[in-house]
């Protein structure tokens, strides 16, 4: 297996996902199978081939610097799980 337990846990941490024992085992197996399959890409000679990041050829999409009405504060916070005096509340951010 190419991907280790440690890597799965590292990736889960970066993704902010908590895995239980069962999930860890399962993802370890599945990710390895998929990544093994993806490794077929290594065979292809891509020297000098540009990358395709967009499926369009557009090279400029700009907006004028003209203000538009911002949403009402109530609308900004309408879906917020926790709010106080116009601000969204979260557990303490430690710096």
């Amino acid at each position: 297996m190419k991907i280790t337990d440690q890597e799965v846990l590292h990736v889960a941490g970066l993704s902010r996902l908590k895995l239980d024992e069962h999930e860890l085992k399962r993802f370890l197996r599945e990710l390895n199978a998929i990544v093994d399959y993806m490794d077929m890409l290594a065979q292809i000679d891509t020297a000098g081939v540009p990358e395709t990041v967009h499926a369009t050829m557009l090279t400029r999409a700009l907006r004028q610097d003209i203000p538009e009405r911002s949403q009402e504060r109530a609308a900004a916070l309408a879906n917020a799980p926790s709010q106080r005096e116009g601000k969204i509340v979260v557990p303490r951010v430690i710096e």
Binding site: R16, T59, Q64, S70, A76, E85, G86, V90, R92
Partner: protein
């Protein structure tokens, strides 16, 4: 101490003075009610998309041209992925391997010696929101008004050899940003923010030392102090045979020291990749040329020109070019009146004093260049004295009335009419025969007494030069 080389690189984030945010039409201005300048785009709601503000590109190119950078013809925006509650999308849109500007420089001057500091890159990115900590509860509050405000990140080469050079570089950069009208340069309010990388190595050693990163320095003073502290700390460790630990540190203003921010636990793995929501941005020659041709004169060029064109001393040129507004004010005055040194003197003293006292910027100053030069003309024609002029200036600055008007209504006009003064002096001499006698016997210091009498009689309005000569003439004839 100077057995060591100091190597500093600076990373500046400058908030741009655009009307709107970088990827949405919300106002980019500070000071609004929390979360009132937000929309689905800058709140990172599901399904919404960013659209680039052309002004941000223009401002970035302005700075790039002003610092001799190469402007990238093809730009790519990338996502920098990390979780933080003030970062609505879970990634910051920024530029990674294809920044807008590269390979420029800035010139600084330390004790009369000029030095070039390289600029590695300048790129566009979005700011994050603000978090405010509760003092009593373990919670923080999120305000997303700042999320999406455009930033230019300006990264210097590690060419800076000491805290004094760092401060000089920052001052020069800030001044350029302000001259270009793209950033207000306010360090306290965070529109001009600076992080520093610093390392120290024994002189002559080629390899760089281990560096630390410094944050949270919100004034030039703090930048200088924080860097000095770190220089001493690094050298102390090296001298003791220790090893500097790679670290991110905060400047603690209260404690006057830097301290480690160990809580930024996990190793950073930002997983940069091109943002598929934003197409590449091609910048053509025509656009660059259009921006180049509208570029204002930069501070260093202006300083030089003020000395050459107006014959001002270096000191005056320096003071007058502190801000573009002040330099413009000087030049507007000079266009109306060919007396540069006198104008410079008045600006450096009275104008700056009033701005300070009233705590206003130049555009709010009630004394226009026309008003100032008109007043200076009143001095040169002898209508008012210098001391009267100071009073007139103060009045102009508080009421906005013209010098002419103030002189009229306050009756401040000097008496420069010879006949009128002659008559008055005549009377004074007649009323003070004893003093006249003593003067004529050689006690010439009594001249001041007669001048004083005349000033009393005219309530100080007699033209002092004229008064002196008339009195002298009449006593000595």
């Amino acid at each position: 101490m100077r057995d060591y080389d100091i190597v500093i690189g600076l990373e500046v984030h400058a908030q741009l003075l655009t009307e709107t945010k970088i990827f949405c039409g919300c106002s980019a201005r500070a000071g609004l009610a929390p979360n009132s300048s937000t929309c689905p785009v800058c709140m990172g709601m599901p399904g919404v998309l960013p659209v680039l503000n052309s002004k941000v590109v223009e401002f970035g190119i302005r700075l790039g041209l002003a610092t001799g950078c190469t402007i990238a013809r093809r730009n790519v925006f990338a996502r920098k992925n990390y979780f933080y509650p003030d970062l609505p999308k879970g990634y910051q849109i920024t530029q990674y391997d294809r920044p807008l500007c590269e390979r420029g420089f800035l010139e600084i001057e330390i004790a009369g010696t000029k030095k070039r500091i390289g600029i590695t890159r300048i790129h566009m990115e979005e700011d994050a929101g603000k978090n405010i900590h509760d003092e009593h509860e373990p919670v923080s509050y999120m305000d997303f008004n700042r999320a999406g405000v455009p930033l230019l990140e300006i990264v210097s080469e590690p060419d800076i050899a000491g805290p004094d050079e760092a401060v000089a570089y920052l001052k020069e950069l800030r001044q350029i940003l302000m001259f270009l009208d793209i950033c207000d340069g306010n360090m306290e309010e965070g529109s001009f923010r600076c992080d520093a990388n610093i390392s120290v190595k024994p002189k002559g050693v080629a390899a760089f030392g281990i560096r630390t990163e410094l944050k949270n320095m919100n004034s030039f003073r703090n930048v200088g102090k924080a860097l000095e502290f770190e220089v001493d700390r690094h050298i102390g460790i090296l001298k003791a045979g220790g090893r500097v630990e790679q670290d991110t540190r905060l400047w603690d203003v209260a404690a006057n020291r830097t301290r480690s921010m160990r809580s930024k636990e996990e190793s950073h793995d930002y997983r940069y990749f091109p943002d598929p929501d934003l197409v590449p941005l091609e910048v053509d020659e025509a656009w660059i040329e259009e921006i180049r041709s509208s570029l204002p004169e930069l501070p260093s060029a202006k300083r030089k020109r003020f000395q050459e064109e107006y014959g001002l001393p270096a000191y005056d040129a320096d003071v007058l070019t502190q801000t573009k507004a002040l330099a413009d004010y000087f030049e507007q005055c000079s266009e109306l009146l060919d007396s540069p040194k006198e104008i410079s003197n008045w600006i450096m003293t009275e104008v700056l004093r009033v701005l300070n006292e009233q705590d206003i910027a130049l555009p709010q100053l009630k004394v226009t260049p026309g008003m100032l030069t008109a007043m200076l003309t009143l001095i040169s024609t002898g209508t008012i004295s210098i001391s009267m002029a100071k009073e007139v200036f103060a009045e102009m600055a508080s009421s906005g009335r013209t010098a002419e008007d103030i002189v009229q209504s306050k009756g401040l006009r000097q008496i420069s009419d010879e006949d009128e003064l002659l008559g008055l002096v005549q009377g004074i001499l007649e009323n003070n025969p004893a003093e006249v006698k003593k003067y004529r016997q050689g006690k010439t210091q009594l001249l001041g007494f007669f001048v004083g009498q005349l000033m009393k009689a005219t309530k100080g309005k007699a033209n002092p030069n004229l008064a002196n000569s008339i009195i002298k003439e009449m006593l000595e004839s």
